[in-house]
Assembly symmetry: C2
Homo-oligomer: 182 residues x 2
């Protein structure tokens, strides 16, 4: 699947069959994390692949009420939980060197987008989930100090793929040379 | 180009020819932003396409000293500056609802990764740049209140593509079910 096609046809998926994911497909998806670019190649990511049903049920409970991804987490064969190692992205010689502090949110966003595209290529659905009790998940998943749960996605074969939500027009968000100039 | 190939062969590029970018290619790259997923479809991104040489020279001066992307910004035909609208990603009914506050760093990372992959598909190089004086850039680019410069990339045809920096092994950053479990 061409990368442009993947970018444009990818949809966020929240309803899944329980069909298992072949090992070689899972490897391809984890390699999409491995090959993501990162701040000074610090690779501040870690991934927990949660297959255990009881754990997935507990994760589902930590997602914001009413978010349909919650049912997807319980129903899908595997959840990928993206962790960040604090104090690496955005730092130089131990000091945060930009006005943004720690850049782990950015780098995990980058890596997770690689996951969504690689998964879509293999017919698998994903959805970036951030509306959850991350500290609660850190307890459930036994995350040590210095690591943060950032986002997660259910991963599985779609039971249903919805329509694309409407997008802003290019002309609404693109400017030339300075802000507001067309 | 298959999406998996794009993910695995993409390299960060810091040296560019000055060859111009065809309009249809630029459109494809901007559509890669348009089709990125975002927090509750808030699409908090804006993009400034900086072609003006004098402006690119000034942007280059705001990048951290010694970063080779600085020369790329001056030499390439166009720089894409990614802005975030504050107070949208991570919010529900006007309130930040996670322990991470504003999620714009995450969503801009997602969108910029789409840019790097779409560009690579067209033979164009990019590099995520965050080590810079973003408030200085906000003045140069006349960014209004409520918008933040997050990252930028030079965009152009590579003069040189370097080797891939080494990556962690999958086994170093992937766990099963709970932290540290293989």
């Amino acid at each position: 699947m061409d990368v442009i096609e993947a970018i444009k046809t990818r949809r966020s998926v929240r309803r899944f069959t329980g069909d298992p994911i072949p090992d070689d497909v899972m490897t391809d998806i984890l390699e999409a994390v491995q090959w993501a670019p990162s701040w000074a190649n610090t690779q501040c990511w870690e991934v927990i692949v949660v297959k255990d049903q009881a754990l997935r049920d507990r994760i589902a409970e930590e997602i914001m009420k009413g978010n349909p991804a919650s049912k997807g987490v319980a129903a899908c064969p595997a959840v990928l939980v993206m962790l960040a190692i604090e104090g690496q992205a955005g730092f130089y010689k131990g000091e945060a060197i930009s006005d943004k502090g720690d850049w782990y949110m950015y780098d995990i966003g980058v890596a997770m987008q690689n996951v969504t595209l690689a998964a879509w290529r293999h017919g698998l659905g994903t959805v970036h989930v951030g509306a959850m009790d991350a500290p609660g998940l850190e307890k459930i998943l036994e995350i040590p100090e210095g690591r943060r749960v950032v986002s997660l996605t259910p991963l599985g074969y779609p039971e249903k793929v919805g329509p694309a939500p409407p997008r802003k027009e290019i002309s609404e968000f693109v400017f030339t040379d300075t802000y507001g100039k067309k």
